[in-house]
């Protein structure tokens, strides 16, 4: 998509608003929904990857050091990673903070 959704005029829309390119869910910024975000404490993290496995949006990825972080473009702030984390190393913080 050349234009973002906010820039499209009604004339840019195809017949029946059909989406012709598959796999474009990745362009959808679900991070907008978030009011709280996960923060990892590297001291406690054992790099097990449970948070990565459970993230329903596949927003969590591995850093070069083997730790985990979330992609804030997609992370909705659901907190499932916090719930599933074995060591309790993740906590949710308010976006305003």
């Amino acid at each position: 998509m050349v234009k973002s959704e906010e820039e499209l005029s009604w004339k840019d829309l195809g017949v029946g608003c059909v989406v012709n390119e598959p796999g474009n869910a990745s362009q959808y910024k679900t991070g907008d929904w978030r009011s709280i975000r996960p923060v990892w404490d590297k001291e406690k993290c054992i790099r097990c990857g449970v948070c990565y496995l459970f993230c329903p949006d596949m927003a969590i990825g591995k850093t070069g050091e083997g730790y985990f972080e979330t992609d804030l473009y997609y992370c909705k702030g659901c907190g499932i990673c916090v719930q599933e984390c074995i060591t309790g190393c993740i906590k949710m913080v308010e976006e305003e903070e």
Binding site: E5, L8, W10, L13, G14, V15, G16, C17, V18
Partner: protein
């Protein structure tokens, strides 16, 4: 052209759908649409029509199946009435937003309650704003012709919108009339193969019916509205070409004795024929009366309508549905709105009649004319009248 035969209009409609080489029929039986669907089912069972007849469990499923079959590029037909349309309602709005060229015959019947199987226009008016192309027919021949017209227009790649052919229940569906069948050669000439604009195909994946955020919804609706407005030239062209092939000429707004008329009746559907008898009688009495029939209800033919009422002093609008607690019948409400602010705006009188199949005779129309003659201006209490109601 083909042969002229006496046949029940519903059976002729089913045979027209067969001649149009439909691929999928999904429908649930409901009075007074039943004979159309029953006959289609027979034609498929007897091997005369090579199509999928899907006997669904409800009208909601019928329209859902139609969306699916149209989306994969199958020529698709369904048919319903009244409560069936109400049950289908959710998906009826989705078909035009996806620009799926489904054809529906709506055998017009009143909405319950009281429970009624008889004819009026309360069903179609309940989906007035659904986004389908909507046309009205007046007799069996018009139904037959408009089956061909419907597929041709709906599937026109420049249009690609679903289309409803309104057929008055019983008054048209259950009568035997002489109908001139088209020959197959003419059908083939008039109705090209369906080449869908979008197709659901696993080899070329697309998403139909995607989620629309508030940031894009208004644009989607504007685009849909414009598509319906832009369908008019293709609609007119389809009628013109049919005129050349059949000698029967249809227009968005049709008139009878309206050129020099001071008062015109305005109807949609089969009531037009009865009104024409009343117009003849009133003309014999020297009254300057004519009639206007709206054939194309959506997209509304504003230009043709304004042209048709040029010089008219009074419009008697015959409505067959009620907008409870509103501005009278839905047709009158729209006509008042579109003529508002015009120079020499005609006086509009609005009669609600023919509800749930109650007969309206030529004498009744003459009585409406006489009553409206006494009404000289827009008087709020007279904005709409339940004609013939027992006080």
């Amino acid at each position: 052209m083909g042969k002229r035969i006496g046949i029940e209009n519903s059976l002729a409609a089913a045979e027209a759908i067969m001649m149009a080489n439909v691929d999928v029929v999904a429908a649930y039986p409901i009075t007074p649409q039943t004979h159309i669907v029953e006959h289609l089912s027979e034609l498929v069972a007897d091997g005369e029509l090579d199509a999928e007849f899907i006997p669904v469990e409800s009208e909601h499923a019928a329209m859902s199946v139609c969306c699916g079959s149209s989306a994969v590029g199958a020529r698709t037909f369904t048919c319903t009435s009244s409560q069936g349309l109400a049950l289908m309602n959710e998906i009826v709005f989705i078909a035009p937003s996806l620009r799926l060229p489904i054809v529906m015959i709506l055998a017009n019947r009143s909405m319950s309650g009281p429970l009624s199987i008889w004819n009026d226009h309360t069903d179609v008016m309940s989906i007035r704003d659904c986004g389908w192309i909507q046309v009205f027919t007046e007799n069996g021949q018009e139904i037959f012709d408009h089956v061909m017209f419907a597929f041709r227009v709906a599937e026109d790649p420049k249009i690609s919108l679903p289309l409803i052919v309104n057929v008055d229940g019983f008054t048209l569906t259950h009568v035997i009339e002489p109908i001139e069948y088209w020959d197959q050669e003419t059908v083939t000439k008039y109705l090209p193969d369906f080449k869908p604009v979008n197709v659901l195909d696993p080899d070329h994946p697309v998403t139909m019916g995607a989620f629309g955020m508030p940031s894009i919804f208004t644009e989607a609706k504007k685009s849909q509205d414009q598509a319906l407005i832009n369908s008019k030239p293709g609609i007119v062209q389809a009628w013109e070409e049919m005129g050349k092939l059949t000698g029967r000429h249809y227009r968005p707004v049709e008139t009878n004795c309206a050129e020099d008329a001071e008062t015109v009746f305005l109807t949609m559907g089969s009531f037009g024929e009865t009104v024409s008898i009343a117009v003849d009688e009133l003309r014999k009495q020297g009254k300057p009366v004519g009639q206007i029939k709206i054939r194309l209800w959506r997209p509304f033919p504003f230009e043709e309508f304004r042209q048709a009422v040029q010089g008219v002093k009074k419009i008697i609008i015959v409505d067959r549905a009620i907008s409870y607690g509103g501005p009278g019948g839905p047709v009158a409400g729209e006509i008042r709105s579109l003529l508002y602010g015009e120079d020499n705006m005609p006086v509009i009188t609005n009669f609600l009649c023919g509800l749930a199949g109650r007969d309206v005779t030529p004498e009744d129309y003459i009585a409406m004319y006489e009553k409206s003659e006494a009404m000289k201006g827009i008087v709020r209490e007279e904005d709409y009248i339940f004609y013939g109601v027992r006080e």
